[in-house]
Amino acid sequence: MKSSLLATPTEQPGESVTAPLVSDAVEQPSRRNFLKGSAAVIAAPLLLRSGESVAAVAASPPTVPWQEFLPDVIGVLGAETLDPPPTETANVAGGEAGRPAHQRWSEFSATAEPYELHAAQRDNWVFSPSYPAQSVWTYQAKDPDLSILSPVVFAHYGHPVLCRIYNDLPANHVGFGTPEISTHLHNLHIGSESDGFPGDYYSVTKAGPTLTSPGGFKDHLYSNIYAGYDEMQNGIGDYREALGTLFYHNHTTDFTAPNIVRGLVGFYCLFDALDSGNERDPTPGALRLPSHPYDYPLGFADRRFDADGMLYYDQVNPDGVLGDKVLVNGKIEPVLRVARRKYRLRLLNEGPSRFYQFYLVRPNNVIQPFTYIANDGNLLERPLLNQTFVRLSVAERGDIVVDFSRYPLGTELYVVNRLTHRLNEDTRRPYQVVAPGVRVLKIVVDREPPEQDLSQVPSVLRPLRPLPTTAQLAALPVRRFVFERRQNMWAINAQFVNVNVPRAQIPLGSMEIWELASIDDGWDHPIHIHFEEGRILSKTTDGRNVVIPAHERGRKDVFVVNGRTTIRVLLRFRDYKGKYVMHCHNLIHEDHAMMLRWDIV
């Protein structure tokens, strides 16, 4: 039986192969012939790897590094008057998508500062001068700064924000991605109607299953309260529940990965009395960490480019394609010029799949130490001094402080990734830490700061609320979630996503322990739980207790389950009701059904 798989690498349209099954006298349908026939198939995937194949993807064309410069000062979103004015219920007649009413409207709308973002296609974005300028999708301001992709939003606890997100994506879009959006602000403590629920995607012509009608925009009431608002009765919540580094990104069901690959990601930095965003803050107790413009978010994204240097995405690859180029704020191998002083760098893994272990090194690959201050956007209780790496799975964040005053003018440093994956296209799990690693960002210390650096890293950052006692913990309800491969996709407790049905209904104000478990069937999963941060109580791998690393002993919202592991996470469900999700944040897994809806009732 001639097999076209072993023949020419590319199938020509119109070419059909072999005689029809029914008329082939030799091929009697029989179990043995079936098995014999399948033997050729066993060989096929291995052979496919050598030629043009469905599995192996060609490497991105080479790029000349260190040609593009990241801005010295990040672009920050400014406030805009909104027209029509925001309303508690969806202004469908005015063009808003049919969302549920804003919870706590009367408490927060009066003081909410108005912002708008536009999800739009930007043509002529330069990833690298080695590749042609091309289209990307990004969130942008009304009058966008075209030198950057998504602007950073600066917000403050106690100061609500009303963010109107317009969908200006092209309705006639062809190719990977879909022009409907639902925007999740990861991981703000907000009402479900503003959380970017995956079924809440919208455009002028289409509405997702959990909205009532399409619309060109949707309002999000980012109350910017700490969790524990009802409990504390102080108008703002429990300051020990603050997040600092958040990010907003597309979360449209069925198309989360391609839409994010097209570029729909941005940063949202939250400040409060403690982490005030003013390094000269005279208020007693203010931390005075390095502040804007010395507070610099860096988003790392793995991408693949085709032979023409165009962004590539395989819409039907069931495992995803690992990006071999790492974008930093949308640029390949860019340069960041810094002043000789301390910087707060907020690192984010934007995905879709790669795991990173970043080091800061001199050109001779000698590792440079730094101070680690926050994980998943949450300041640790105490800074970790003399750290040498930041390990990030998809959607994890790590904030570090680097003191560039240690280096003379002209010093060049590199951020390198030393974490490999097993094969060029293996998205499943990380493999080994290998020096010297791949250089992804060049840092040049090129100027003295205009003023004296008065920023600090105090020895105490943000206190943690004490954990419940052992007896209290033992009395809490426990939910167990097993993350596993099923039927060529990924499932949670053997079930696949259904945005219409909650798999858990949790009473408002509850405290629970969620066990996140994997069974080592081949993939590592960064599991993300919306709405509240969790505390890791324990991690067990292969039946043995594992020490939680120092940077994970605070609050987190992404938990990596790998191998035969169970992580027990303490969670609360306060202040808001509605539908939320938990899912693997490997974007391919998320789109291949490893997600579930849970409700607070």
Binding site: E15, L21, K206, P209, T212, M310, Q487
Partner: protein, 214 residues
């Protein structure tokens, strides 16, 4: 609940009409250039055979310009196929007149040597499958090529060879838009419907607007 359903139905019709009209008018912009390299699918034009005994070209006859769904099955499958087929049968009922006219459902046999067109015709009759949903078989090599190009494979060849745990994925796509995604066949039919509606430009509201049939 009644008011909501009526509101949805009324809105759905109204907005769908608006949406469809807007789509036909176009947004005023020229269609975006289809870049062959940006991950567009490379579907082969091999000849397959439907359960009705017809020879069809895979791309030209089954996919070109259409909104389509594909899943894999085989007549002897006792584990997942009965439930998958039942879910898809409910999806077919929910699609109503759209199936075979606007949305085209296809199932491909993982065991083409065993699943002749006659066998598939029996399967269709046994599961009360209505017209508009074609079951396909063909030469083993062609079936495998089609399967790989649809993304129905496991990167591990041993796992890929094992039919018992075969894929439960429903490939959902709109060829005219080169937009491809998937839904699990083992989730509730409403969820599968909203994915199909997501890629179908005629549907302004992707929720299934009627009462649940389950």
């Amino acid at each position: 609940m009644n008011t909501r359903r009526k509101l949805l139905a009324g809105m759905g019709l109204g907005v769908a009409a608006l949406g469809a009209a807007a789509w036909q008018r176009g947004s005023g912009l020229p269609p975006a250039v289809v870049r062959g390299s940006a991950g567009t699918q490379n579907f082969p034009n091999v000849t397959l055979y439907t359960h009705e005994g017809q020879a069809v070209k895979f791309y030209d006859d089954l996919i070109r310009g259409k909104v389509v769904t594909f899943n894999m099955m085989y007549a002897q499958c006792e584990r997942s196929c009965p439930v998958s087929t039942a879910n898809l049968r409910l999806v077919q009922k929910m699609l109503g007149e759209r199936v075979g006219r606007d949305v085209f459902m296809y199932s491909i046999s993982l065991q083409p040597e065993m699943d002749t067109p006659e066998r598939l015709r029996e399967y269709v009759a046994r599961h009360h499958i209505e017209p508009g949903w074609l079951f396909l078989t063909g030469a083993r090599a062609d079936i495998d090529l089609v399967r790989y190009r649809l993304g129905f494979y496991d990167p591990d060849p041993l796992v890929d060879f094992n039919d018992a745990n075969h894929t439960g994925m429903l490939r959902v796509g709109n060829d005219a838009l080169d937009r491809w995604t998937m839904a699990p066949t083992l989730t509730e039919p409403e969820q599968i419907m909203s994915t199909i509606n997501h890629v179908d430009m005629a549907m302004a509201h992707t929720a299934y607007p009627g009462p649940s049939l389950v």
